[in-house]
Symmetry: C2
Subunit: 526 residues, 2 copies
């Protein structure tokens, strides 16, 4: 029987609070540190490893976190979710993004259909369409092949697919899988669409309009913007545009599109990269086989999240240490620091995935909670960040927990020996050095050059950032967020906090304003 | 007489703490809200206005902040700085980035030269060089004009110039000032350089190597990487490379470069966009006249920062409200939210400028401080962010102060009427709506749809993002950071926190490791 209880009602949470705190700098020095690096480690899918040696935990704390995960029934709740319970209670929806990449539990029937079959059918439709585009069966009116894909979407229809595309672009080029380049139009700022249209050969571009509801203001505006640009060039928009939407949306049956591919209400925007939202774009750019490998990586990680042995479940460990840092150690914010240029926009995607899911103050029953929930999340790739905001991370007044990501090999394989080492070796040396610098610190006579240490981090290490590793990485963070949402007793799958702004923006555009709203509208010349 | 005292030693700070807190939702409703929007506003340079109506302040709090600014001698300290005092005490350096764009005070003589004359001379050298490139007097070996500029630098040599380039790229294209495209290589990840080289016509590219010391690991590595690529294509690197460095660096007198332009030790990397570091790249891309207009905007804002009347000094107001939020109201983090796609990387630049300057725990005398200093800073452009992390900003457990930026007009002027309004109007309507939604909130029977409000923001509004406005915007934040650093009694101009990681990375590369450092090195295959 599943119990949905607030974190601070759980006995194991109270026990956790009473445990002695760990002195990370001490724990990580000498042979004890080396031993931790070896043992505080758990394999992931896609050839990845999650290592949490440099987190402010020891065996006692980990045991208490395992107890908490058990008492909060985190894995059982995951099973409820993937077996089709109505986990998104507020919106009365299932939560099925894991089902887009594999059958974890029993059949899920919703809207009268077997949902796994539905997602697979859409993947097959996309694969068949992409093949025709690649083979030159579907071309522009002049019979030329399409060379560019432009994704028109915002939020989850943009950030995830964009991050995944950038993550695999160079890998695909090097390995002979690169078929079409991708561009993205998201902002309602007209300069965004105008700049993208200026940068491509519009006559050879396919535009993917992505909106679950078919009513997103920015996306419909940009669609109209693009259609106008196509017509001005004497092109027929219906021969250049695809739709990714829900079957019930106004876009679904429109003859305005070359094809329509479907997602549904049970896939949250920020969890849609493995659905048709990411699938259409990634299949066109890299081929359906690469998209399938990406899904396989995610599905394999989803299976690991199902592990009831706390120490074998990377997502559960990561999630619970995060709860410990936030609620017991009182740390604010989290930084995601990939030592891989290909992951340059991965933190921006996680920023949405995490902050939109768990940035909430009421529990799943609408009652205010008395503990901190999701933190601010930010990040940039290393080594770049080292020359930017790491000063605060090392010596600032607040301790910010860190999530490093690193790969032994580069994607492109072009490298050069300088001062006896390759760039890739320098990159890896830097991430190793940072973890130890943050954890252990360094004393100095000059207090300005002193590092207190005790700044916790974990690292995910892989051989190479390829489709499987990327899928595993994505699923890791998605499932970590899910487990944390369960621990905080939140509904992680709605986003009521984005509504008020939309309502007020409509009022401004209708000139239905007074007071401060009128004041700002006047200042902005609307 | 200047007194350098900790914030918590100041009488006006204690008074500030005792003042009644403002109920922002109440203050911003009805006609009082409209009145605040009109009166809590101060003109900036470049046609901008700084509006702080939606900050959690009232007349009493503002008066106390003005007193605090006075007691902390913030403007006097600024005058010391621009008149050449050794403000960066730890490194025994002047702080002269304001001098790169204008003569605010007396002559500053350092290293035996008049520094203003030195900066102007470098600007003139750059302008002359850029003109020769644009006129085809300087070409590649085949006599073809150069079409691309590649900036090779990291941290301040990358983030600021990159943000400024992106900010003006489309404006320059529309207004006929666009001369060369820019690309950037920063990360030691070899995939960064490889991908940039793959994306350009290398034979028609000029590479600007930017390193003040001439010893930055990433930059020298990438220089070698690029030189190898040039040679492989049969090109002579010395005909394709420029250096921007200090006169004392190993790069300064090298015959490896077509030309060398100089900055000096008195320009911090994160404050170098208006020096040769930004100047060479921006002058080549848009022409020296555009760079001069950018400098003029910054210089005009620098003058406003010199205003002793608190209510006429936009940087002082912004800085002191930030101190109030951080130290009295106990708010963590700050988000910068430009409603302009052209400012997409401006938050990343401010992230360095702010967090590297004020992310510190000891005062300028090396003594630990007992109050919070610089916050975590992050941001993405709106409206994109609205569909991402705004959920947490509206309904999360932590209140994050917000800095909006908006412009009445787009840069490219391509727009389209949809549902009776342009995209630019929709963009502006959204930022107006967000400010009021955050400040006033909205009650609802369903607690999940309830917005408490009381979430403070300010906005900088301009007519159009052009070179003058961009210069003013940059100087605003630079000077805000400076004033906050003075208030916290920090040295905002060193960055000792980045050193330890460098030292340990060298050890890893030399295989001089044990304990945890050896453990991580092994895991990463070094």
């Amino acid at each position: 029987m599943i119990r949905w209880e607030n974190l601070d009602k759980l006995g194991s949470y109270k026990k956790l609070q009473e445990l002695a705190k760990v002195d990370l700098a001490v724990e990580m020095s000498g042979e004890n540190g080396a031993e931790r690096v070896k043992s505080f480690s758990v394999p992931m899918a896609g050839g990845l490893v999650f290592n949490y040696a440099a987190k402010a935990v020891n065996k006692e704390v980990l045991e208490a976190l395992a107890d908490l995960a058990g008492e909060a029934q985190l894995v059982e709740k995951y099973r409820e979710l993937y077996n089709g319970a109505m986990i998104n209670t507020g919106e009365k929806r299932h939560v099925l993004h894991q089902l887009t990449r594999g059958q974890l539990g029993g059949d899920v029937i919703a809207d009268g259909v077997n949902k796994r079959e539905f997602y697979v059918r859409e993947q097959e439709k996309i694969a068949a369409f992409a093949k025709k585009v690649h083979d030159g069966e579907i071309t522009n009116a002049a019979g030329e092949t399409f060379t560019t894909v432009v994704q028109i979407g915002i939020g989850g229809s943009d950030l995830g697919p964009r991050a995944m595309y950038i993550a695999l672009e160079n890998w695909a080029k090097r390995n002979g899988f690169f078929k079409m380049e991708a561009k993205f139009i998201s902002n309602v700022d007209p300069d965004d669409a105008a700049a993208v249209l200026d940068s491509i050969n519009v006559s050879r571009a396919l535009f993917i309009l992505v909106s679950k509801s078919g009513t997103t203001l920015e996306t419909l505006t940009n669609e109209a913007f693009v259609k106008e640009a196509l017509r001005k060039r004497g092109l027929d928009p219906s021969k250049h545009m695809l739709a990714v939407t829900s079957e019930t949306s106004p876009l679904a049956s429109s003859s305005d599109y070359l094809a329509a591919f479907f997602m549904d209400d049970h896939i949250g925007g920020r969890y849609s990269s493995t659905s048709a939202v990411g699938g259409a774009m990634l299949s066109l750019c890299f081929g359906p086989d690469i998209f399938a490998r990406f899904l396989a990586g995610a599905a394999a990680e989803d299976k690991l999240s199902d592990e009831t042995d706390f120490y074998k479940n990377p997502e559960l460990i990561d999630a619970m240490i995060g709860v410990y840092e936030r609620n017991v150690l009182g740390m604010e914010a989290t930084a995601v620091l990939p030592y891989s240029q290909a992951l340059s926009r991965f933190p921006a995607h996680l920023q949405q995935a995490d902050m939109e899911s768990n940035g909430k103050s009421v529990n799943r029953f609408g009652e205010p909670v008395d503990y901190k929930t999701g933190p601010v999340l930010f990040g940039e790739p290393g080594t770049n960040g080292q020359h930017s905001f790491y000063q605060l991370l090392h010596q600032g007044k607040d301790i910010v927990p860190l999530q490093f990501i690193g790969f032994k090999n580069s994607q492109m394989g072009t490298d050069t020996l300088i001062q006896g080492t390759t760039s890739q070796q320098k990159l890896c040396a830097n991430v190793a050095a940072q973890i130890v610098a943050f954890a252990c610190g360094k004393d100095d006579e000059n207090p300005n050059k002193r590092f207190d240490g005790g700044r916790p981090s974990s690292i995910i290490i892989g051989e190479e950032l390829n489709p499987e590793a990327l899928g595993a990485l994505l699923a890791h963070f998605e499932n970590k967020i899910m487990f944390q949402g369960f621990a905080w007793n939140l509904n992680s799958f709605d986003q009521e906090g984005v509504q008020l702004g939309k309502v007020l923006a409509k009022k401004v555009l209708a000139h239905d304003t007074d007071g401060a709203l009128k004041g700002y509208s006047d200042l902005l010349g609307i």
